[in-house]
């Protein structure tokens, strides 16, 4: 066979396996090129090529190999791909091989063979659990030592390049969600699916089958995978069933919502065009069947971490599913019947099985007999007590042990081997059950925790429920799947359960620590040894949470899948308590590590938060606007003219120009972003009266009024003008920032507190485009723009509101002013916004109209002494802002009764003032702190702060500021210091009236 490059892969079996021998794939590991097949994982392909050393451990940099064949892998972590796709800590056992795959070992220097950090291992007597808590306290301080420790810590490296791939999210609903596509999950999906219920089946790997893919089992007298393929086809044929492979249900949240990640393109070199890398699924399920399987536990003995030591189930996976020999000469060591099946499978794969070592005093039943019949030596009542080899296993020491497993009872003998397959029993994957609020309970029969009572609509089945036999898994899966459908009101038909040829198995006998001296690894990734657990016990860190945190047991990327049970059991032995009493740590999501990219989906970069545009947006963009964000709205900050850049000097020039030309002639600003609320109903005036501190009952139709509202605690909430536009109809404006909160506030009082008021409110912010026309010539421009409206001072006085038309479009004109100039606000339905804006600009051209941005608007309001965001900081009262006189004592309003507390009346509260530099030119920045004396040493008593500044008031020709200062207006004329120590600035400022411009309002009323 020309395609069969078997001889390039010295450990590849000539036949068998699920690999596609017609599709050889070349890949790189640590710079060297190898070949595997489609259907391989990186781990199986490395093993096929005889690569056994693949990584280094976290703390001691011990040489490590491939330990498992699944998500529980603690050792074989690599850095995958390059550039922006670089991805550290990726489990070789979970990477599906693709052409061009490039992986590198990590946590070693300069290379995997010669890692200088393995010197750490020499110091391992010092580097015990918690060693750093006991030292590094003196000079030069932890920050110094930390630098070196952090260099050694970590595993793979991250990247600072951006990820070129994209991610996606989907929400879905189903009746029954089955998590896990092994025998129990398939049976559950079939049972539920045939009832007509909407069923989803999630499988983490690339195909259904679970353990059946890795075992030589028959169902109904045929290879089990034939049944799996039949079942898959049957599921496919049901249009209410969705099967998703490469999808991990990783978290079980409230409301029976399961989060899952679908790996759409990870098995490819790069995602195809328009395809995403991974997709996050939110699945809202009626009921959940957790068929998540079980994870095999290692045995804890001296040197149990060498490359070549492998979980027995993984060894079977490699020979059966991948047609790879994980070694040439094997020893199998277990405390359960798994060892015999493993030995048989290895034997059939041409591996020389030196011995099966069964720690139980006598082996059990049929399995052992089969192994012995095959000529395999089976030793019982013994254990592997040590392993040997430098960068990989070359022999093991075996000795008889006592029935209680605590002591070595006879002579030690050595066997040569390069593979040691171990099994300490199986731990059900109770993670999702636990996320759902369930408390796993200990089952001594399998020496593991199994799901306890369910707290949400879920039930486990199969190995995940502690049901380890194949026939039982199938039966239970079908039963639980049918039950789920029944509970949701469906009627599932009975389904046929295939018969299994699995031999009966005997019970395991827990063996938590094999006797003997030396380092026995409990948690391989973090190098937590049994003596670390013992030390934690000695020092009083005896609760499982203390144990975890003190030793880092289970804190690695494998999340303790292979280590927690052993660690907790050893602690129980040390404490002399039962495993139930010691308990287990909480399982927290995610079940497997999940990429941040998948969780964020498309909500990154510019899409982190949506943006909002006014109707005039494009006009602004075409006319030089520099945009700034304000509560998601993009607002013009300034308009650049030809040749101006966004350097500060040009920006400052533009701002001054916009102020000067507006005050001198006329300007227009887009104020569409202000919140607008339509209020209708017979009780509208009463409602406004309760919302605002000032009175509303006397406002006539066609007039506007400035209003101030408080929070219930008496602090200023928002301000704006509200107009009476009809007998029972008002039009409110709010600040841009509070548009949403004010709307909800009003709805809350109407629905929750005052349901008796007949008032209907609706946000019309988006309905109206709004533009403020300001400046002495604004009336002339308005007159030219409107049709049939008398805009004279008499006909449209200050605070008057009129309906009119501009170029045929219905418009509302409000004579209100934020700038302090004669000014009008024009509102038109938003689709006409740009055209009306253009019309006003066109008729204003002869008056020299200019557009102005938020900067000029802010400067004009500072000159006028209006309060805004800097003053409305959620801590100020109406009195603080000089607005206390607005409040009506003749009525009740929100916040009134909390505003007379002692702290509100304290004369020391800073109050609103204006400030000017004594030297007439220094710029006092916003955020300066006001103090009496600029020479004091900290802590300096502070009198207040500067809340807004115009670094140069174009109108006054010098800098001006607004602020709050103790004593407020009673100190007008005094000087204080504006301190800005962050920039070493101290400026003497004089307290003045905050209204710098047109104090008597002549311009407003002109």
């Amino acid at each position: 066979m020309i395609f069969n490059r078997r001889f390039d892969q010295p450990f590849r079996l000539a036949e068998g396996g699920e690999i596609d021998r017609l599709a050889p794939v070349s890949f790189r590991f640590d710079g060297k090129t190898y070949q595997g097949y489609l259907g391989d994982t990186l781990a199986s392909a490395l093993l096929a090529n005889g690569v056994r050393l693949v990584g280094r451990s976290f703390k001691y940099h011990r040489p490590r190999g491939i330990y498992s064949a699944g998500p529980e892998e603690p050792n074989a972590l690599v850095e995958l791909r390059t550039g922006g796709r670089h991805e550290p800590n990726t489990r070789a056992t979970m990477i599906e091989l693709f052409a061009g795959l490039d992986a590198r070992s990590q946590n070693r220097w300069p290379n995997l063979l010669l890692d200088v950090m393995q010197l750490n291992a020499l110091l391992s007597p010092v580097f015990v659990a918690g060693f750093y808590y006991k030292t590094f306290m003196g000079m030069p301080g932890w920050r110094f030592y930390e630098h070196f420790i952090r260099k050694a810590a970590g595993m793979g490296s991250g990247t600072t390049l951006s990820d070129p791939d994209s991610y996606d999210k989907m929400h879905t609903h189903c009746d029954v969600l089955v998590i896990g596509g092994g025998p129990a999950g398939i049976a559950a999906a079939l049972a539920a699916g045939r009832s007509g219920a909407r069923v989803m089946l999630l499988e983490e790997s690339d195909a259904l089958g679970g353990r059946l893919r890795s075992e030589r089992r028959n169902l109904n007298g045929e290879p089990a995978m034939r049944w799996v393929r039949g079942a898959a086809a049957a599921l496919e044929a049901l249009d209410t069933v969705t099967v998703m492979t490469r999808t991990t249900g990783f978290g079980y949240y409230d409301g029976n919502v399961i989060a899952a990640v679908e790996r759409i393109s990870d098995h490819l070199a790069t995602p195809p065009e328009h395809a995403v890398r991974q997709r996050l699924w939110h699945i809202r399920a009626g009921r959940v069947v957790i068929a998540a399987g079980a994870t095999e536990r290692p045995l804890v003995f001296t040197g149990n971490d060498r490359p070549g030591v492998m979980l027995a189930s993984a060894a079977r996976t490699y020979v059966n599913r991948f047609a790879v020999q994980p070694g040439k000469a094997a020893v199998v060591f277990a405390n359960n019947d798994d060892c015999y099946q493993t030995a048989l499978d290895l034997h059939r794969a041409g591996i020389e099985v030196q011995a099966v070592v069964d720690s139980r005093p006598d082996g059990h039943g049929a399995a052992k007999q089969q192994a012995e019949t095959a000529g395999i030596e089976c030793v019982t009542g013994a254990a592997v007590i040590a392993s040997h080899g430098y960068l990989g296993l070359n022999s093991v020491d075996i000795a008889p042990i006592s029935a209680d497993g605590l002591t070595v009872t006879g002579p030690v003998w050595q066997l040569s081997c390069d593979l040691l397959a171990i099994s300490g029993g199986w731990s059900p994957n109770v993670h999702l059950h636990s996320h759902a609020g369930g408390r796993p309970v200990y089952d001594p029969g399998i020496a593991a925790f199994i799901p306890g009572p369910s707290r949400q609509a879920e039930r486990s089945a199969g190995a995940g429920a502690g049901t380890l036999g194949l026939a039982d898994c199938l039966r239970q899966g079908a039963e639980v799947g049918a039950e789920a459908a029944t509970l949701l009101g469906f009627t599932p038909p009975a389904i046929e359960i295939p018969t299994s040829d699995e031999p009966a198995t005997g019970p395991l006998k827990a063996l938590w620590r094999v006797p003997g001296p030396g380092k026995k690894y409990v948690d391989l990734q973090d190098d937590v040894t049994s003596s670390d657990v013992e030390l934690a016990h000695r020092e009083g860190y005896i609760s499982v949470e203390h144990l975890k945190r003190y030793t880092t047991l289970g804190m690695g990327t494998d999340q303790g899948k292979t280590s927690n049970m052993n660690g907790h059991a050893i602690m129980a032995e040390e404490r002399g308590d039962s495993i139930e009493d010691v308990g287990t740590t909480m399982f927290r999501p995610p079940y497997n590590p999940i990429s941040l990219g998948a969780i964020a989906g498309r909500d990154i970069g510019m899409h982190f938060s949506p943006t909002r545009r006014s109707a005039m947006h494009d006009w602004h963009a075409e006319n030089g606007a520099v945009f700034v964000e304000a509560g998601q709205w993009m607002r013009p900050q300034i308009y650049r003219r030809d040749g101006e850049s966004d350097v500060k000097a040009d920006m400052d020039r533009a701002i001054s120009r916009e102020v000067t030309e507006t005050r001198g002639g006329v300007g227009m600003v887009d104020v569409s972003t202000l919140g607008k609320i339509d209020i209708q109903g017979p009780d509208s005036a009463e409602f406004l009266n309760r919302l605002y501190i000032n009175g509303w009952k006397t406002l006539p139709v066609g007039r506007a009024r400035y209003g101030l509202m408080l929070r219930e605690d008496g602090i200023v909430f928002d301000d704006g003008t509200t107009s009476r536009v009809g007998e029972n109809r008002y039009f409110m404006t709010t600040t841009t920032a509070n548009a949403g909160p004010v709307m909800s506030h009003m709805e809350e009082y109407l629905q929750v507190h005052w349901p008796e008021l007949n008032v209907k409110v609706v946000s019309v912010t988006e309905q109206w485009a709004a533009m403020a026309l300001a400046g002495p010539k604004s009336r002339d421009v308005l007159a030219a723009a409107v049709e049939g409206l008398d805009v004279s001072n008499e006909a449209l006085p200050f605070m008057g509101v009129r309906e009119t038309r501009i170029a045929g479009v219905k418009a509302r004109v409000f004579r209100i002013s934020f700038s302090g100039e004669l000014a009008y606000e024009i509102n038109v339905p938003a689709d006409h916004g740009r055209a009306v804006w253009e019309r006003v600009m066109a008729v204003g051209a002869e008056h020299g109209i200019i557009p102005y941005g938020t900067e000029a608007m802010a400067i004009m309001r500072i000159e006028k002494g209006h309060v805004a965001g800097g003053e409305l900081d959620g801590r100020t009262t109406a009195d603080d802002l000089g607005l206390g006189r607005m409040s009506s004592s003749k009525k009740e309003y929100i916040g009134r009764r909390m505003a007379d507390r002692e702290g509100f009346l304290d004369p020391a509260r800073p109050k609103f003032v204006g400030l000017v530099p004594v030297d007439g030119k220094s710029r006092a920045r916003v955020g300066s702190v006001l103090v009496a004396d600029n020479t004091m040493q900290p802590p300096v008593p502070m009198l207040g702060h500067i809340s807004s500044s115009a670094y140069l008031s174009p109108t006054l020709g010098h800098p001006i500021s607004l602020g709050l200062v103790e004593g407020g207006m009673s100190r007008v004329g005094e000087t204080v210091w504006a301190m800005f120590p962050l920039r070493d600035e101290a400026i003497e400022v004089r307290i003045v009236d905050p209204v710098f411009y047109d104090k008597d309002g002549e311009r407003l009323h002109a």
Binding site: F58, R143, E146, D163, Y167, H546, I594, P938
Partner: protein, 418 residues
């Protein structure tokens, strides 16, 4: 008990670490204590430690319903800072930071306090102004602060998104160089060992069931391990204060909310500081083990469930990637929730209660971890002297009645806005 030192560590390495003793005793509760502190988290243990150390009171019990340090002490994102603006908070948190600076030596236990700096990013002129005010106020109070412009932020943290694709461009930041992180569990353990060495009884697995009262005093605590008498009693149970107070018929200006925290797989050092996003809720640092530890906002509803929900997880992660796009392929390893006792102004309540010999230490919102030593220090002072210290005098329970809220964010009596 052996001092912790490099020398003793080496000596024990030779003898196989057989001689290390329990870090704290496991005593049976006595009939009567001068002071009972309920809650063996960082705050409760620190209170006991400073009561014993500074005030000479040694007959103290710390009661813990589970295992010590098992609440918020072991569930936070380990950030320590004192970058507060308001007078009532600033001096308190600064005292706490000063205690952090000497804590490892004081406890003879390395709490791995790492002053790597804390920077809050600003994304608008308004935010820069607000930071300037905060930073200037800090400086006037004698607290370190630096205002960074965009270029300075870029120099220090080149991995942030400075591209045109950034939804919220970085304008600058406010940095507190003395801020940083500490190993959260070690703080509880070090304080437990320190208190224990001064004779304090730390009684774990001892749940408070009720109280015996005489007049306006508590005379004894009924626990799962029997009745224990006391002269004075302090609560330091964070999110569960309302629950305990209810047993005394007291209701508090507190809501309990869940705040989630996250850790990624371990990496070689990538982020050597603490940085917070100003345009979404996200803060991150890298632990000494290499995991990125990050968090965001509370889940917005009352909760005692110690677990959070997907909308906030997604928001936090999106904010993280908006700030540092290159984290996209990193993986989240675990996420969990802690119970925050959110007060009505976002600031803590630490001082006397309406009951004569009961003292309250609660309402820490997100700020509890960094307050640990300071909280213990002032709480000990308050209990020992039956009156608050000057630096916690503004953090009283009655400040809401008096209209003297300490509202750093200006968010008002709406805990999920703080």
């Amino acid at each position: 008990m052996a001092e912790y030192s490099a020398f003793n560590l080496l000596r024990n390495a030779i003898s196989g670490h057989k001689d290390w003793r329990r870090a704290w005793r496991d005593p049976e509760p006595k009939k009567q204590y001068d002071v009972i502190i309920v809650g063996a988290g960082g705050h409760g243990l620190a209170s006991a430690f400073y009561l014993a150390k500074n005030h000479g009171i040694r007959n103290i019990a710390v009661l813990e319903k589970g295992y010590l340090g098992g609440g918020n002490t072991g569930r936070n994102t380990t950030i320590v800072r004192s970058n507060y603006m308001l007078e009532e908070n600033a001096h308190f948190y600064e005292k706490s930071l000063q205690l952090w600076e000497q804590l490892s030596q004081e406890l003879n236990f390395n709490v791995m306090f790492s002053q790597r700096g804390v920077t809050n990013l600003a994304h608008s002129d308004n935010q820069m102004d607000a930071f300037a005010r905060r930073g200037n106020t800090m400086r006037m109070n004698g607290i370190d602060a630096e205002l960074l412009d965009r270029a300075q932020v870029r120099r220090e943290m080149p991995y942030l998104d400075f591209s045109d694709n950034a939804r919220f461009p970085i304008y600058g930041g406010l940095k507190q160089p003395r801020g940083g992180t500490a190993r959260h569990d070690a703080v509880a353990w070090g304080l437990a060992r320190g208190a224990d060495r001064l004779g304090v009884d730390i009684i774990q697995n001892c749940e408070v069931i009720g109280f015996k009262q005489k007049g306006n005093r508590i005379t004894a605590v009924e626990t799962s391990r029997g009745e224990i008498g006391c002269e004075r009693i302090g609560f330091a149970v964070a999110g569960h204060t309302g629950h305990l107070a209810a047993k005394l018929g007291m209701k508090l200006p507190i809501e309990s909310h869940v705040l989630q925290a996250f850790v990624s797989e371990p990496l070689k050092t990538l982020i050597d500081t603490v940085v917070t996003y100003g345009a979404g809720h996200f803060y991150v640092s890298q632990s000494d083990k290499g995991g990125l530890v990050f968090g965001g906002d509370i889940d917005m509803y009352n909760s005692y469930a110690q677990r959070g929900n997907t909308p906030m997880i997604e928001h936090v992660v999106s904010a993280g990637l908006a700030m540092i796009p290159s984290l996209s392929r990193l993986r989240i390893l675990r996420h969990w929730g802690g119970i925050m006792d959110m007060s009505m102004d976002g600031s803590p309540i630490i001082g006397k209660s309406p009951i004569d010999n009961l003292y309250l230490n609660c309402g820490w919102c997100y700020g509890g971890f960094k307050a640990t030593p300071g909280s213990g220090w002032v709480f000990a002072h308050t209990i020992a002297n039956d009156q608050p210290h000057a630096i916690n005098a503004g953090l009283t329970l009655d400040r809401f009645e008096r209209g003297r809220m300490v509202d750093e964010r200006g968010a008002g009596p709406y805990p999920n806005r703080h």
